[in-house]
């Protein structure tokens, strides 16, 4: 299983790198799809069907919207050369990546083995959650009962985002 996850993650990394360097924006959008659908397979392998359903549906929908936008605007990506500021930023990004890799190597030694993590909180959720919430699907029980406040925030974020989109794309704002 770890091998399969590694292979899929490798494909996702290749797709993401291709999406950055593609000349045609349409192929860049489709390469983004590789990342999303690879994530779906990862979720299915890790036995998380709830997340997999959400991911596959949202990914398809955003792919449709992005393809529509690309087809209706421009397929060429404007290219800007690397000036001195860009070079400084590139060096800074490289240093950050090296520092993160260093801390990643240190911290993975202290974690539990893959798939063997047992948190106090998750055990409290899993023991008798069906009786406490009355819901056969544990995820819905956690999302709407134990962590209802969290979900309310999520729904409100979506509403706020849509209000922002309407405010930006309104009739008068274009002049």
């Amino acid at each position: 299983m770890e091998l399969a996850l590694t292979i899929i993650t490798g494909f996702m990394v290749i797709g993401a790198i291709y999406a950055i360097h593609a000349k045609d924006l349409l192929s860049a959008v489709i390469a983004c799809g590789i990342v999303g659908y690879g994530l779906v397979i990862c979720f299915l392998l890790l036995k998380a069907p709830d997340l997999a359903i959400v991911q596959i549906v949202v990914d398809t929908m955003s792919l449709i919207i992005m393809v529509t936008v690309v087809l209706n605007t421009s397929r060429e990506e404007p290219y800007y050369g690397l000036d001195s500021r860009g070079r400084t930023l590139a060096v800074a990004a490289l240093a950050l990546i090296i520092a993160l890799l260093y801390y990643f190597v240190i911290s993975t030694g202290h974690l539990d083995a893959f798939g063997e993590s047992h948190l106090r909180m998750s055990e409290a959720y899993m023991n008798g959650a069906a009786e406490k919430t009355g819901s056969a699907n544990l995820v819905t029980g956690v999302v709407f009962d134990f962590r209802g406040y969290d979900t309310l925030g999520e729904a409100t974020v979506l509403v706020t985002a849509v209000l922002g989109v309407i405010a930006i794309l309104r009739l008068k704002g274009k002049k």
Partner: protein, 144 residues
């Protein structure tokens, strides 16, 4: 926005209803099977987007759709907030109180308020995604 060819229109007529029903199934069975308000809501929005893409529609029509969707979305979120506040008015000082009887685990009508939350969040997500799509389409229509 112009519609597409007859083949696409006929296929859409057959498929859109089935896609919408599947989304409604995912929402209503959210407390029994994988899925829930967010996933099912996006599937239902997909049915609406499919119809809009295939059949098109005039500028005024799309604008009317957008206004209606905005009202639906805001009312659905308001109902979710009111449902979460009911626990405060019932005397128990608990936010998100499950005030309805739980019933048997595994039946369709069970789990108290959780199915209601699922349904209203599903409606909200449906109209949100549909508005995002419509706003982009209308923005392009205004240009031409």
């Amino acid at each position: 926005m112009k519609g597409m060819t007859t083949i696409v229109k006929k296929t859409t007529q057959i498929l859109a209803g089935i896609i919408f029903l599947y989304g409604a199934y995912v929402v209503i069975h959210g407390h029994l099977t994988p899925g829930g308000g967010f996933a099912g809501g996006v599937i239902m929005a997909g049915a609406f987007i499919l119809v809009t893409l295939a059949f098109g529609g005039g500028f005024l029509n799309l604008k009317k759709e957008e206004t209606g969707s905005t009202a639906t979305e805001n009312i659905a979120v308001l109902i979710v907030i009111i449902l979460s506040l009911v626990g405060l008015f019932l005397g128990a000082k608990v936010f998100f109180l499950n005030f309805l009887p739980r019933g048997t685990v595994g039946e369709l009508v069970s789990a108290g308020v959780l199915p209601l939350y699922n349904i209203f969040v599903g409606i909200e997500v449906t109209s949100s995604i549909f508005i995002l799509f419509l706003a982009l389409v209308i923005f392009k229509e205004e240009d031409t």
